[in-house]
């Protein structure tokens, strides 16, 4: 059976975030380079039908940061959830390059593992790390994201049936109920139990109580899926599976997974975008912290390296004046 391949998060930084960083750096942070909490958000994976070719085109598996990332609560659009992050800004490009990135990454992943094991906390499952260096004079921002995900050994495998459209497994009624539940209260992870044509949606933390004596073929583990790729569930599922394996080892040899990708109930004649698949894996050791991966690769080179946003064309007063008419 093929190994499940997860679509990694891609960072999307809105220009307003860099504007806010500039302001913070000058007015608040100054020379401080301590670690700050920030918040990003992700929403369901989107695809668009190309009118010329009639094909569906998948947009990225994005985690975005806006200008309000430094605030305690960010404004979320419908069907999107917040992700907490650690943010560290360096004062010089040398510091940025010389930073002990492995140590930062390990520190974060250890924290996440601790929160999972000891606090049964699902809010850490999509934590991320962002390091930056802001060249304020040139309006250039160097940055590097990491989205730690715990590696499962042995790896999760998808059943022979593969990933299929959710409406092959669940009825339109059931999907509509799930949609309504998520629309009212959008959560990154949820549980679904089916009985007949109806479904109930519950919290992941209450796995045992919620599922109780529900037989395993009526249990579904769901998550808000930022990926829109047909064969690849999004990154958050990895840590959710790690979480479930730690806390519910007895039930975790196989899961029926719902990748939720519908922001709206599809109009008549259109299909649901959510995906469904049955994944399984062998026994694994849950006592020790598994290794984690997740540094973002550079989008053009696909290498592990930092990237840079050049905001000069949109921020530099001299260059803005040049194109004013």
């Amino acid at each position: 059976m093929p190994v499940v391949q997860f679509a990694p998060f891609s960072s999307l930084v809105q220009p307003s975030f860099w504007h806010e960083l500039t302001r913070m750096k000058i007015d608040v942070l100054r020379l401080s380079d301590e670690t700050l909490p920030i918040q990003g958000s992700y929403t369901v994976g989107r695809s668009i039908r190309d009118r010329e070719t009639g094909k569906d085109i998948v947009l990225g598996c994005n985690l975005s940061l806006g200008g309000d990332a430094y605030e305690k609560s960010i404004q979320l659009s419908p069907m999107s959830v917040a992700a907490n992050g650690m943010f560290k800004n360096y004062n010089t490009i040398e510091d940025f390059k010389a930073a002990d990135k492995s140590a930062l990454f390990n520190e974060l992943s250890t924290k996440m593992w601790d929160a999972i094991v000891n606090h049964k906390d699902t809010s850490v499952l999509s934590k991320f790390l962002l390091i930056t260096f802001a060249d304020l004079k040139k309006y250039q921002y160097y940055y590097w994201f990491a989205f730690p995900a715990f590696v499962s050994k042995p790896a999760w495998e998808i059943s022979e049936n593969g990933w299929k459209s959710a409406d092959e497994e669940l009825s339109a009624n059931q999907l509509t109920t799930i949609h309504q539940s998520l629309y009212d209260d959008t959560v990154p992870f949820f549980l679904v139990k089916t009985s007949g044509d109806s479904v109930q949606v519950g919290m992941v933390e209450k796995f045992d109580e919620f599922f109780g004596d529900v037989s395993s073929e009526l249990r579904i583990v769901g998550f808000l899926d930022p990926s829109a790729s047909a064969e690849n569930p999004g990154w958050p599922l990895r840590n959710l599976l790690a979480f479930l394996r730690v806390h519910f080892p007895a039930q975790s040899s196989s899961f029926r997974v719902l990748c939720w990708r519908d922001s709206e109930i599809p109009s008549a004649g259109k299909a649901w975008k959510s995906r469904f698949g049955v994944i399984s894996s062998g026994e694994s050791d849950t006592a020790t912290k598994p290794s984690a991966v997740g540094w973002e690769r550079h989008p053009t080179t696909n290498k592990l390296s930092a990237r840079m946003a050049d905001l000069a064309p949109m921020m530099d007063p001299a260059r803005l004046a040049d194109q004013a008419v």
Binding site: V3, Q5, F6, P8, S10, L12, P15, S16, H19, T22, T43, R46, S47, I48, D50, T53, K55, D56, I57, V58, L59, G60, N62, Q75, S77, K97, K101, S102, F105, Y142, V151, S152, A228, S229, A230, E231, N232, S263, E264, V293, H298, P299, T300, T301, N302, L304, S305, A306, R307, M308, A309, D310, P313, M314, M315, P317, L320, A321, Q323, V325
Partner: protein, 376 residues
């Protein structure tokens, strides 16, 4: 110069009075309450649009503090508008065609008009390479003024450092750290290369358009603010390329139809942020265009509503008085019969203003899918 102009605009905006009475059918302008009503409707009907409060210090007091402007993020833009561009050049000239010997006899009825006569057929085939490139010929004579206005920045990518590619900017070769993670992780989906995945679904980076160019899927954050001076909504764009890097102004202009780039679409300070700059469609003509569109739509809507009323004679109460300027946002529920308020002959309600507005904006930025409202 530009800074002074912007100062002037903000002052003018500050001094101009808030429009109080409802005018949208007379001249296409709306007041803040109608903007909020239309925005509420848009956000309700199409949840991709949400209200934002923006920077508190920049809040406008004539709008509710939590409804300062509308935003939708990640609007896809598959192609460049420049690839759709039609010009007034010779290649688009019309030509009379005659068939047979009719022209000799002076029988003009048999003549046909062929448009775009000079334009070569652009068949997307290997046998016809290179034609695509010829179309966005914006550096032609007709665009001299435009090119001059932009200084060194040109719309088509003739020089390396402009529009299409900014290849070196993002490269930081000496910062590569492949040893951060040991080996490749088998459970990480690799970026797609070439092979289309199953199910007819394509990854955004792998679509090939004619002659082997990769389709570059950009995304836009689109904002709608209320412009107090022009008393219309105003659209703002912030774009990202396929690697999620913010677009530069010349790149954004590639997605604006050639008629509007740098004339009605310019880069300006976004009013609800202290420092953010965004591309904006200048609203000076919005009111008159909206008036025309609304008039046309209104006629259709009234007709439809009258027809509906005739068929459902149950609600026989004369509602002709309602026909005047019924903006009531479903406000007249108590008066209507059992048939539902769609029956009221009131013409287009102001709630639809932004839906219509987006259709109009879609003509200025034809490849940005701002108009998710196709159901209407």
């Amino acid at each position: 110069m530009h800074a002074i102009q912007q100062q002037y605009w903000s002052l003018r905006d500050y001094l101009s009075p808030v429009l109080k009475e409802s005018k949208f059918k007379e001249h296409g302008r709306i007041n803040p309450e109608e903007f909020v009503a239309a925005g509420d409707f848009l956000a309700y009907k199409f949840p991709v649009w949400t209200w934002e409060k923006g920077d508190a210090s920049k809040a406008r007091d004539y709008l509710p503090s939590d409804k300062q402007y509308l935003v939708t993020r990640g609007v896809p833009c598959l192609r460049r508008a420049t690839s759709l561009a039609y010009t007034d050049e010779d290649e688009d000239a019309e030509r009379l065609l005659s068939f047979g010997d009719s022209s000799a006899t002076g029988n003009e009825a048999d003549e046909w008009v062929e448009t775009h006569a000079g334009r070569k057929a652009t068949l997307d085939s290997a046998a016809n390479p290179g034609v695509i490139d010829d179309i966005p010929d914006l550096d032609g004579e007709g665009y001299g003024g435009l090119s001059n206005a932009m200084g060194n920045v040109s719309i088509s990518s003739t020089t390396g450092a402009t529009a299409g590619e900014t290849p070196d900017l993002d490269d930081i070769p000496d910062m590569e750290e492949e040893d951060l993670e040991e080996g490749d992780d088998e459970a990480t989906a690799a970026p797609k290369t070439g092979v289309p995945s199953a199910g007819g679904v394509l990854d955004a980076t792998q679509i090939e358009v004619a002659k082997g160019n990769l389709l570059q899927v950009r995304t836009y954050d689109v904002m709608i603010t209320y412009d107090k001076y022009y008393q219309t909504p105003r659209i703002w764009l912030i774009g990202y390329d396929e690697n999620r890097t913010p677009l530069t102004p010349p790149q954004i202009f590639q997605d604006v139809s050639a008629d509007h780039a740098l004339k009605t679409v310019t880069i300006e300070a976004f009013p609800h942020s202290a420092s953010l700059q965004a591309a904006s469609v200048h609203p000076c003509k919005h009111a008159s265009v909206m008036k025309k569109v609304i008039e046309r739509m209104n006629a259709g809507v009234v007709e439809e509503q009258l027809a509906q009323r005739k068929t459902s004679s149950g609600s026989g109460t004369p509602k002709e008085s309602k026909k005047k300027w019924g903006f009531g946002r479903k406000g007249s529920k108590d008066e209507k019969g059992p048939v539902g308020d769609e029956e009221e002959v009131e013409g287009m309600r102001v709630d639809f203003y932004l839906v219509v507005f987006l259709k109009f904006i879609a003509s200025i930025v034809p490849t940005i899918e701002v108009d998710s409202t196709t159901a209407f």
